[in-house]
Symmetry: C2
Subunit: 326 residues, 2 copies
């Protein structure tokens, strides 16, 4: 992902030198706190790469767009952390823990308005189109988060529903980032859409890799509780596929293992569910599906006419996802 | 406020015939639920009046702007109700009670994005300026809500801080509504700003009237608990002014009456605080301040060149505030 023109410091420095300024202090401190907690800054980097696929250098306008995308990501983290009762994020207290739930709600609300302020304060061409893309993405992300929250209470979740949920919750944001960069760079409509579609496939592959690592990655590698999704009875693609493809007895056993009112020994539960995910062919199925999305991404990106070193960076980005262990 | 061209049904019908459409159902139901709970629809009416001050008739574009303003108001209600732990709104359950807190957070988030969708989908002139005004208002409203939440834990709140808080929390929204309507109608910059300033003065007068009615209105007239602010130890202008203007003993007594860990008989507390508000001259001071803002509003509106029947409607609107008992 590193490139002669941008690296993760490009974004990090821009974030640090452009904190949100306003009063009351506690509100703006909470907004800058989450923005400065670090992270891979993947989404703004994708936006900048799409821009550099046609333009030779960055400018303040496109950096503002990149900051808007990262700000949106942080808005959704703050609100999601409230909904998930998450105490920690990147080794630090979440906003609602460090402050309180009302301030965290307002912090997210204000971050969302700051995204618009940033975009509106640029002089990029096709600004209105960029605003429309951003707005449509923002609405889909909350749809996706609600779909995710609806999963535990749904009797039956189909694979299609699961994939739609992760598309909205996770994949449309990098897709929109890429499209915004492409629009700002002046790519043709169909090329901008190709960047978007590349981002969706990449985002879906990314989330499936997450699901895989959560179930099968070694605990020390993924930096969170091994089998966390299993312990939380999360209906990921592994669970949905296994339920459908196991024989009646094993399917019933899996269902029981995932019942909220059942208590099993944690390591027994994780091991047994893993076995069932393997026996059902669900692990292989996930890997095949992930490989398919990665291939889709390659196929979409390939025909777009762009500066060669940027195409290479985007391919490398995809490769780094493919090989990541965390 | 009724006018030959618009009345409260104009907005009500537009809201009912333009529900937000999307999935998942529970999320969109919650968004349409709050939108359809009723209310005076004052903010969108102000927007339409400002538009009609220059234009002869309404069109779908300006109705979309009006809907955006009402949608923003409802977004803030949904999130504020979570923060205030409010169980009821307009005689019905609040969104977080009818659904749950996560859905209410998302409902608000999505309503906020829908405001932008509505504005972006219009063909009004000066759309970018309208978006900038809207965005700057949206950020100020969350600043104001945080200021309000900071009040109880602040040792000392000045009158200036209180007025700034109600300006941001309450007054900039009608001000922005008026300005958006004026911009869309093609008023000159200084006229648009005059509409805004009129809205701020009107909003401040409105909030002071609320403070007055809460403390001194009869329970059956104001439709909420008599002296609710007093029982909640809210530091309104009455409290702030009284604390500063009572003699040392009475000031100390008022402070004690407002201490969270003190328990007094409710009707004793309300009656005694009311007496202190009167004795300190705070009641008169509030009424004088409110009259001053109303006069400011008149003075600002008067020189703007506009269709006479609209100016009359705006004056009537101000008058209805002045005389309202609820």
């Amino acid at each position: 992902m590193e490139n002669r023109l941008i690296n993760s410091d490009t974004i990090e420095n821009y974030i640090l030198s452009n904190p949100f300024i306003g009063k009351p202090e506690n509100l703006y401190n909470s907004m800058n706190y989450i923005m400065q907690l670090g992270g891979k800054r993947m989404r703004p980097q994708l936006l900048l790469l799409a821009y550099l696929a046609k333009e030779n250098s960055l400018n303040d306008d496109v950096l503002k767009l990149a900051l808007a995308i990262e700000t949106f990501h942080n808005f959704s983290l703050v609100h999601d952390d409230i909904m998930d009762n998450a105490p920690m994020r990147r080794g630090k207290k979440t906003v609602h823990e460090e402050w309180n739930i009302p301030t965290a709600i307002l912090s997210g609300d204000n971050l969302l308005t700051k995204c618009y302020e940033l975009i509106l304060n640029t002089g990029v061409s096709h600004k209105e189109l960029i605003l429309k893309e951003f707005t449509s993405m923002a609405s889909l992300v909350s749809d996706g988060q609600q779909m995710d929250m609806n999963m535990p209470v749904k009797e039956m979740v189909t694979e299609e529903e699961y994939l739609k949920m992760i598309e909205f919750k996770t994949a449309v944001l990098p897709a929109c980032a890429l499209k915004m960069g492409a629009i700002a760079a002046g790519f043709e409509n169909h090329e901008c859409q190709a960047f978007y579609n590349f981002g969706v496939s990449l985002g879906l592959a990314f989330q499936l890799q997450d699901d895989y690592l959560d179930a099968f990655g070694a605990a020390e590698m993924i930096g969170k509780q091994e089998g966390g999704d299993i312990l939380e009875n999360k209906k990921t693609i592994l669970y949905i596929h296994a339920l459908k493809n196991l024989n009646e007895d094993l399917s019933k056993e899996l269902k029981e293992l995932f019942e909220a009112n059942q208590t099993f020994n944690n390591s027994y539960k994780i091991d047994r569910v893993r076995d069932l995910f393997i026996e059902s062919g669900s692990k292989d199925y996930l890997l095949k599906l992930k490989a398919q999305y990665e291939q889709d991404a390659l196929n979409i990106l390939n025909p777009i006419n762009m500066l060669p070193d940027i195409k290479e960076s985007l391919f490398n980005f995809l490769g780094s996802l493919q090989n990541r262990k965390s």
